[in-house]
């Protein structure tokens, strides 16, 4: 483990050193596809590891930042967890919006997870999700099944440990045409600052 920390420290150091000419060091944009095909279990994701993580008790653990169940998304805070997790919609959109959002404004209001009412096949059901992130998609009803279409908003997410990331949820469908595969592009700032360049 120590070896890896050392290694990543070297990598980060080298990136930083490479970009010395910039006034603010730039962080790398990553893309991840989470397989959240189950409608009963949650898949937990950590920005720091750029991967899904196994969590035994999600209400106390701070190792996870986002959780996925089909198209529903949680953060590690509010009613969902013990961490600092919360999220806000920047109301910027697409690649341009993603690039423009270089620093999180101090006026941003973050929302923790709450119980919200969601339309289902027969009436409504209550789910604990992140209310800000719930706007990541729109439903398009079609005769042959409903489509989940990304709204392309850029979100700012506070992680379980209180760090910041910006996230763009890009797709709900896998390359093999299956649903329940959420693809998102993000930039995670490990130093705790609101700088997301």
């Amino acid at each position: 483990m120590k070896k890896y920390v050392f290694l990543s420290a070297i990598i980060i150091a080298s990136i930083v050193s490479c970009k010395k000419e910039n006034t603010t060091p730039s962080i790398q944009a990553l893309t991840f596809e989470v397989k959240s095909t189950s409608s009963t279990t949650w898949k937990y994701f950590s920005f720091a590891t750029n991967d899904t993580v196994t969590v035994t008790d999600p209400s106390t653990s701070t190792t996870w930042d986002l959780a996925f169940q089909r198209y529903r998304i949680k953060t590690n805070g509010g009613l969902s967890g013990n961490g600092f997790g919360s999220a806000a919609n920047s109301y910027k959109k697409g690649q341009t919006g993603f690039d423009e959002l270089t620093v999180i404004p101090d006026t941003t209001t973050f929302f923790g997870d709450a119980s919200i009412s969601i339309a289902v096949q027969q009436g409504y059901a209550s789910y604990i999700v992140n209310p800000a992130l719930y706007t990541w998609f729109t439903l398009e009803f079609a005769p042959q099944g409903t489509q989940i279409v990304p709204s392309d908003y850029i979100y700012v997410v506070k992680t379980g440990t209180g760090k910041y990331a910006k996230v763009w949820f890009k797709s709900y469908y896998s390359a093999t045409n299956l649903s329940g595969y959420v693809t998102f592009q993000y930039k995670y700032q490990p130093d705790g600052s609101k700088n997301l360049q």
Binding site: R70, Q121, Q144, I148, Y172, A175, T176, N177
Partner: protein
């Protein structure tokens, strides 16, 4: 013994070849005012012979075995002429003159009896849509042709699916055929209708009501049989194009050649559109998706003698839909069908045999994976058939057939992926004439199906002729075999629910009764028919708790629903003054689910159409104009949340002008004249007023 049989068959096939020197028949075909008619088709019943008149109206047939035949001369706009001729001299000469008519009851149809019979003599009321009519109206697809000309047929567009209902019954209960053969790749009974290339079609025959005694499964609500063109001309080549808004292009060409014993017909077709969306609130679900299709067909007609013909053919078709969805994949459909038909005459009797195979593939093109082609499903159907048509006497024709059908379906949503079904069939039909006025047809079909075993379907049709009236009555049963999907589906929806097939399913069945009266005079042709159809053992999805299943909800199929449908159809065509005709059609359908007592979903009680046609023609030139109006009543449908919705009634108007000068035809028209746009109505997906232009070049007519 075996050797004897071999010799017998050798004898059968060689005899006509020896006699094929034969005698000749020739003559001139004239129209009114003794103007010769070029392009008229001449056929001789009981033989494989057929030809068309040349530019001078002259025809010639050779290699005829001396005897008495029925000669048939047909040409669009004229009444088909039928004459008994005795051909005995080495050279025989017969001239005929044709009568101009917009009503042709001598036209030959095949669907009602599985043998060639004229419209006025067929005991099963048959409606014919001719290719010529479709050409004049600038219609390029079969579904438009059906909706426009057959009251009671309703076409719905649900996203990418096209759904047909006939007399209140959905496509599961309507059998679509091409030259009497089934079409692979159905989805809930609906086939891929864009496969039906109008350039290859001679006519479409529509029979309403049960016809399972001849056609087996699915022939409950009706049979729609697409008859492809024959090869009669020595040379014929055509090019056609139709263009409309949204870059909707339909174009192609065909070439037919006939020399000696071999005839060949090749056609290619290309169509595309940019698509459009009249529901901007769902930008990833378009009303008409953009698509591209290609089709190539090849048919040979080999006639070694006047008594024997062999027709090998194939068609390749592909349809690719562009992606407008939020997904990273789009659909590609490929169909390949091929077959061989043979016919052998022994006197007036004939033996037909055929083999047909149709494979329909559905692919998913994965755009993020280098456009990888993944098979979603494929469907292969095969039919072997031998049929004999025996003239037991002048008043009694027996048709007997043996058939073996197989189907193989692969789907990722099916138990084990691949499933098979097969069916062995025997069918018999007696066509008995009693005096000059009465005609009775009795049919029976018995089958043994790999899934549910033995099944029988009888039918009786009766006709009484009393000039100018024809009265017809039919009683019969129809059935629909459970589809392979109904038997073996296994679909788990992300741990929410499961849909499981039921291998114990029995066929759905129907009892059908109908009566009709037809009036026919050169200035008017009208028919009114009433019918009642009772469906039982209908297969529906039912919620069950299977003993071995966990907490998941499971749906399966069961034979429990029943429905009663009755209605009346009316069709009329009336001459107003020379060249001007008014046509009207109306259909009333009362349908009821016997359990809920509600009207069946996706049905319309009232529908109809009215059109006014004007025709003018002189030497080398013809002009047609048509004003057409389609009327559709309120339609009831089921919302995804279980509530009932209604589509409001609408009318749609179209005006078409078509002019033909020698080898060139130019058509132009305006679709949806009043620019009616009804978003969310799947019946009527018109994006508003649309002009269209079409051009046809007939190289066969260029001197």
């Amino acid at each position: 013994m075996l050797r004897r049989i071999q010799i017998f068959f050798l004898f059968i096939f060689i005899t006509p070849v020896i006699f094929s020197q034969g005698v000749t028949l020739s003559g001139y075909i004239a129209g009114p005012d003794s103007i010769f008619v070029p392009g008229a088709t001449i056929t001789l019943s009981g033989t494989t012979l057929g030809t068309v008149t040349d530019k001078k109206g002259f025809y010639k047939m050779s290699k005829i075995i001396p005897g008495t035949y029925t000669l048939r001369v047909s040409f669009v706009g004229f009444e088909t002429l039928e004459k008994k001729v005795n051909i005995s001299n080495p050279e025989n000469h017969f001239d005929f003159s044709l009568k101009e008519s917009n009503i042709d009851l001598n036209e030959v149809v095949v669907t009602g009896t599985k043998s060639e019979i004229t419209l006025k003599n067929v005991p099963v009321l048959t409606q014919v849509i001719s290719a010529r009519k479709m050409l004049e109206l600038g219609i390029t697809n079969a579904t438009d042709a059906l909706q426009n000309m057959v009251p009671g047929i309703n076409i719905r567009h649900e996203g990418t699916l096209v759904k047909v209902t006939l007399q209140g019954m959905d496509a599961k209960y309507v059998l679509f055929l091409i030259d009497g053969e089934r079409i692979a790749g159905e989805v809930d009974g609906d086939i891929d209708y864009s496969m039906l290339n109008l350039e290859n079609i001679d006519r479409i025959e529509v029979i309403k009501g049960a016809s399972s005694s001849l056609y087996g499964s699915n022939a409950i609500g009706g049979v729609i049989n697409i008859i492809t063109k024959k090869i009669n001309e020595p040379f014929d080549a055509k090019l056609y194009s139709r263009y409309s808004k949204y870059n909707e292009l339909y174009t192609g060409g065909s070439i037919a050649l006939k020399k000696g014993i071999i005839g060949s017909r090749t056609s290619i077709n290309f169509s595309r559109t940019d698509g459009y969306d009249i529901t901007p609130d769902s930008p990833h679900d378009w009303t008409q998706n953009p698509y591209t299709t290609y089709q190539i067909s090849q048919k040979f007609e080999i006639t070694p003698s006047s008594k024997f013909s062999l027709i090998p053919y194939f068609t390749y078709y592909q349809f690719e839909r562009a992606n407008v969805s939020a997904k990273h994949a789009h659909d590609l459909y490929i169909d390949l069908n091929a077959g061989l038909k043979g016919q052998y005459f022994i006197g007036r009797n004939s033996i037909d045999f055929s083999y047909y195979r149709d494979r329909y593939n559905t692919y998913s093109i994965l755009e993020q994976l280098n456009n990888r082609r993944d098979t979603v499903s494929y469907d292969i159907i095969q039919t072997f058939r031998v049929q004999g048509n025996f003239h037991i006497s002048d008043k009694n024709i027996l048709t007997a057939g043996l058939e073996y059908n197989t189907e193989r379906l692969f789907s990722i949503r099916m138990e084990g992926g691949i499933q098979n079904a097969s069916e062995a069939v025997i069918y018999l039909q007696e066509d008995i004439h009693m005096g000059e006025r009465w005609n009775l047809i009795a049919g029976l079909r018995g089958s043994n199906h790999s899934s549910y075993g033995l099944h029988a379907a009888p039918k009786l049709s009766l006709m009484y002729k009393l000039e100018p009236f024809n009265f017809r009555a039919s009683a019969g049963t129809g059935f629909r075999s459970p589809a392979l999907k109904d038997l073996y589906l296994y679909f788990e929806h992300f741990g929410q629910f499961i849909i499981e097939g039921n291998p114990q399913l029995k066929p759905e069945s129907s009892k059908y009764l109908s009566g009709s009266a037809e009036f026919s005079r050169p200035w008017n042709n009208s028919s009114v028919s009433v019918y009642r159809n009772v469906l039982s053992n209908m297969i529906t999805e039912e919620l069950v708790q299977l003993p071995d299943s966990s907490s998941e909800t499971t749906y399966t199929y069961q034979n429990i629903a029943s429905a009663t449908i009755y209605g009346v159809d009316f069709l009329s065509k009336q001459k107003i003054i020379k060249g001007v005709w008014v046509s009207a059609g109306y259909s009333y359908v009362h349908s009821r689910d016997n359990e809920t007592h509600n009207q069946l979903y996706n049905t319309t009680k009232n529908s109809g159409n009215i059109s006014v046609d004007y025709n003018f023609s002189k030497k080398n030139y013809s002009f047609t104009a048509q004003l057409y109006c389609q009327l559709m009543g309120e339609r009831v449908y089921l919302n995804p949340d279980g509530t009932t919705g209604y589509d409001r009634p609408y009318s749609s108007w179209r005006f078409t002008i078509s002019q033909e000068y020698k080898w060139l035809r130019i058509s132009a028209g305006l679709d949806n004249i009043f620019g009616v746009v009804i978003p969310q109505n799947y019946d009527f997906i018109s994006p508003g007023r649309r002009f269209f232009v079409g051009m046809n070049i007939d190289f066969g007519k260029i001197k």
